[in-house]
Amino acid sequence: MKKIEAVIRKAKFDEVIEALHEIEVNFFCYWDVTGRGNEKIGKVYRGISYSTKDIERTLLSIVVSDSFVEKSIKAIIDSGATGEIGDGKIFLYNCEEAYRIRTGETGPKSFN
């Protein structure tokens, strides 16, 4: 089992979710995050130009069985890329164990 964490563009969220559903990855968490990176966002308020380094992205957290790792990552990269700076990052971790709370099942069958 592996845990995939992906920081993606908010604007690409719908496409990434759809790509994951297509390969039958249907269980995951996500939340909006604010972070820092290379990008600077220029803004104007009442005639004053200012820039903020705060970058808003969505973070996906997915646990999959080993056989799904490669295609999940491919799906995220294919659907989430625009080719411009700021498309995000993917991190891969080992996942020691998973439990389904209702039944006490463990391993990949607890989330599939």
Binding site: K43, V44, Y45, R46, G47, I48, S49, Y50
Partner: protein, 411 residues
């Protein structure tokens, strides 16, 4: 009698519309400031409308319309006694346009407006107790005295033998009076922490709720139907209709002027400038709403809108911090609208222009001096500003012990 009934109904409706403007001001101010100061701003707005009405009943109305200038003759200062006069009220021949009661209520709603203008400019850093003292003195004494000089038939209304000052609904008497006060207080009070960096460069402090501000501006525009429409002082068909047309055209022109001028200047279509421009147009037409043709109203409005955009940038350059743009809207556009009576419309002419200019100056000097006196007195006794820590944590917690959105923060 039937005529009085018709007139009076219109005037009561207008009083209600001007009352509604206080909701508009509240929304505008909340939206253009940060969440942590929302309760504080609403508290100030509630204080102004409640205290304003009570004080106008007790002393303001009789200071503004003394009849006889019995303290300083020649139209400078008079006082007709404490409280409303039941005997005068009972006489329905008081005026053809309205009853005594309607007169009081309509004028009372106006008085509170002058205080609200100050409230927006000093937002997010003034001590609530200090603000209440300053607003109390300003609304109960400074505003009615200035008003008596013109609307109470004082010396401004007959400034020269031939020509008197003209201010239909208060570009100067209401809006500039509030604006001058606001300008002096923000100078003494200083800018919000973070508004200017260590090199003095202005920083953006974006407002927390632009949709609420937009609702506020549209409510204010609606309120202006009463503010200017009621200033005809009757339901006279020709005059009231013209005034509503000039008022709305100036508002529209002011908004467009500000939106496109700031768009050209900053390469950005800024909604808050659009909104301030609408208000700038409204304030500008207020002095001559019954004097102007539709085309002239558009010219006055569009200029008012451009003045607002330039005014916002001027205040930034002068290191003055006005979070909601009250001074560009009410003071700068108010001065423009007052002068415009001498440039456009039925009473244009050099003599009129000079009288308008002189009156702007006289009112300005009086307001500035009295505000300096009140503000310095308050500063040296109860203090003017909250501490830096209170400012950072927000005035809601520091001054009122609770936040506006309790367990829920909009993000």
């Amino acid at each position: 009698m039937e005529l009085l009934t018709t007139n009076n109904i219109w005037m009561m409706l207008c009083a209600a519309l001007v009352f509604f403007m206080h909701l508009g001001f509240s929304f505008l101010e909340i939206g253009l400031t940060r969440q942590k100061n929302t309760i504080n701003i609403l508290f100030k707005n509630f204080f102004i409308i409640t205290m304003g009405l009570i004080m106008y009943c007790l002393i303001g109305f009789n200071l503004m319309y003394p009849g006889d200038f019995n303290i300083i003759g020649g139209g400078y200062l008079g006082f007709a006694g404490i409280g409303l006069d039941l005997a005068v009220a009972a006489d329905l021949s008081y005026n053809q346009g309205y009853t005594y009661w309607t007169d009081f209520l309509f004028q009372g709603m106006f008085a509170a407006t002058a205080g609200t203008i100050i409230s927006g400019a000093v937002a997010e850093r003034i001590k609530i107790n200090s603000f209440m003292i300053i607003a109390l003195v300003y609304v109960s004494i400074v505003y009615p005295i200035v008003g008596s000089w013109q609307w109470g038939s004082g010396f401004l209304s007959t400034l020269t033998d031939d020509v008197g000052f003209y201010d239909f609904a208060g570009s100067t008497l209401v809006h500039s009076v509030g604006g001058w006060g606001a300008l002096v207080i923000i100078y003494i009070l200083g800018a919000r922490k973070g508004k200017f960096d260590i090199n003095g460069k202005p920083q953006a402090i974006p407002g927390s709720n632009i949709p609420l501000s937009a609702a506020g501006v549209l409510i204010l525009w609606l309120g202006w139907f009463g503010f200017n429409g009621g200033s005809v002082l009757s339901a006279d068909p020709a005059n009231t209709s013209l005034v509503l047309v000039t008022t709305c055209l100036a508002a529209a022109a002011g908004g467009l002027g500000a939106a496109f001028f700031s768009g050209l200047l900053y390469r950005n279509l800024d909604l808050t400038m659009f909104m301030n421009g609408v208000l700038g147009g409204l304030v500008a037409i207020t002095a001559g709403a019954d004097q102007m043709s539709p085309n002239e109203a558009i010219m006055i409005g569009v200029t008012g809108g451009i003045i607002v955009v330039l005014g916002v940038s001027l205040l930034d350059k002068a290191k003055l911090d006005d979070p909601v743009g009250a001074i560009p809207v009410h003071l700068f556009s108010g001065i423009w609208g007052t002068l415009a009576v001498g440039i456009f419309g039925a009473s244009k002419g050099l003599d009129q222009f000079i009288v308008q200019l002189a009156s702007v100056g006289i009112v300005g000097v009086f307001c500035v001096i009295s505000t300096i006196a009140i503000t310095l007195l308050v500063k040296s006794t109860v203090g003017l500003r909250v501490t830096e820590r209170e400012e950072m944590e927000g005035l809601d917690i520091a001054e009122h012990g609770t936040g506006a959105y309790a367990d829920f923060a909009m993000k």
